[in-house]
Symmetry: C2
Subunit: 360 residues, 2 copies
Amino acid sequence: VLAPGSTIGILGGGQLARMLALAAAPLGMKVHVFAPEEDSVAFDVSSARTVADYDDEAGLAAFAGTIDVATYEFENVPADTAAFLAERVPLRPGARALAVTQDRLVEKSFVRDLGVATAPFMGVDDVASLEAALGRLGRPAVLKTRRLGYDGKGQAVIRDGDGAAAAFASIGRAPAILEGFVAFEREVSVVAARGPDGGFRAFDVCENEHRGGILATTTLPARIAPETEAEAVSLARRIAEGLDYVGVLAVEMFVVREGGRETLRVNEIAPRVHNSGHWSIEGAETSQFEQHIRAVCGWPLGPATLRGPVTMHNLIGDDVTAWPDLAAEPGAHLHLYGKREARPGRKMGHVTRLAPSRRD
Amino acid sequence: VLAPGSTIGILGGGQLARMLALAAAPLGMKVHVFAPEEDSVAFDVSSARTVADYDDEAGLAAFAGTIDVATYEFENVPADTAAFLAERVPLRPGARALAVTQDRLVEKSFVRDLGVATAPFMGVDDVASLEAALGRLGRPAVLKTRRLGYDGKGQAVIRDGDGAAAAFASIGRAPAILEGFVAFEREVSVVAARGPDGGFRAFDVCENEHRGGILATTTLPARIAPETEAEAVSLARRIAEGLDYVGVLAVEMFVVREGGRETLRVNEIAPRVHNSGHWSIEGAETSQFEQHIRAVCGWPLGPATLRGPVTMHNLIGDDVTAWPDLAAEPGAHLHLYGKREARPGRKMGHVTRLAPSRRD
């Protein structure tokens, strides 16, 4: 258990690290952010900052010397970086969580081996194996690089008439996975935390809407049956336990109707706090950010109780120019990430709205 | 109106500045903290830091060059410092709020001149004027230095048999004010915000309990009549308007029963966010810290609605050693200030508890 006054090292300096740092301070924890970008927005709210590349061993060694535990805000931490840090300080979540979630084929296989349903999938190494996979899984199907994709990047939908060679070229001929099309009713996620003692707390299931491959809105409660909600949480718990996970993770799932019943297909695991959990800052008794800090510090997890119906809208690119209206809207909780330039597709902030309470 | 990306300069680096900085970040604002102490706890969550004395003009000039608005976390900002900054950037609240609240005699006279009741008081400059004041106001009475007192420091209660000379010596023979004893039923405060456009929002009235001159607990709703609550808010508004105030202020009042009715006596004005408003982080739709940032940036004030019954307990000195229990208590929202040493009487943190909601 880390006492107040300890220092949490965070790899990555984006909005997730920023919101982790904002949650760490009230628990009396200091934060040291390590990121390659000079203008990392998490630097604004952290007590120590290192600007260095993830393969800079001198920088990593100095960083490790100042922190009591290391965590990260993104799943693409290089394996060597993770191993280097893990030799020096506790790394939470651990290297296994990174190894599994950095590779879509390894991740999907891990989930399937737990007996948990996913979209049908096959590994793709070249055009020939892609053609074979298309033969098995049919069209439409989604070709995704095994590594380094996010927010819809590194993906290609293959429909009737699309050539396998062109699709494979479009993702840079990288080792890939082909996933069969899932005709889903809705997308949901489970954001949950597991402590080093195995304690587990899930937030209520989140219903998500993506636009252009990027999360647009999250709404709670999700419009799913109570049995589906319980099953979703149970799947997330099996995944967390299978990874011997410490911290907050998110499991994205599709809700599919089969024979009149809702069933679930796991789509993706994020070994970190997640955009679909941002509503928890106002909407839950404990936010996902505080929960992650509690978990990596070995503190008891907080209650994850939903306070009431809540919606979260991402502010993407120019959406952020609406800030004066959002600032004036009663009950709209604005979260801006401090990014200077509103590039298209860039997550600039989010806004959370709770259903009016009795006194509003 | 300051746009996101602007920088707020804060004089003072304690827990109030720290919590202001934590509230500024989600609004996209950067914070530059100016404080004399190397280990200022607000530095941990601010994007820029200046360690310098308040009379360091070179330091202040450099600071002013990096900020878009200046504010402060304590009322004892030297007048010269305030004037120096106000020539360069908007200072909010303004110099008048400081001038009035830095001197208890000026403050009490200001309140009285608004037609607002206070404890009876008289200025004291020497033992002779103290004896005259004791003759008028009776005993017990409270002798307070006009300047630089806080948390009960610089005060002496004069009871039957206590000598005037000894009492005056005990406060260092400084210019002082003698206040007649007020037999109050309870202590309350109004924490409220006023914007540069004159917009005004008060939080619900806070009921406070002090121990040894230091705030111990704040509870809402206060156990006062609705008319008393309305009157308290009205008094705070007149005070804010009289000061042409911008930002959050707190007005401490005594509730006195006179002829069966509750009446109010204003005790003290704090031109800043206030310990008795800490509950608002979880307990109100907008926290006092966000409200202050909104006001000084010229943003619309947020709704100050109370979410439900709430209590705030200060963690003073060794109280903070209870952190493991508080961390494990469901519904206890812990706020630690990051101070290294738990000296007696030092505010180390606070804990806020909301009444259980329907779903807990």
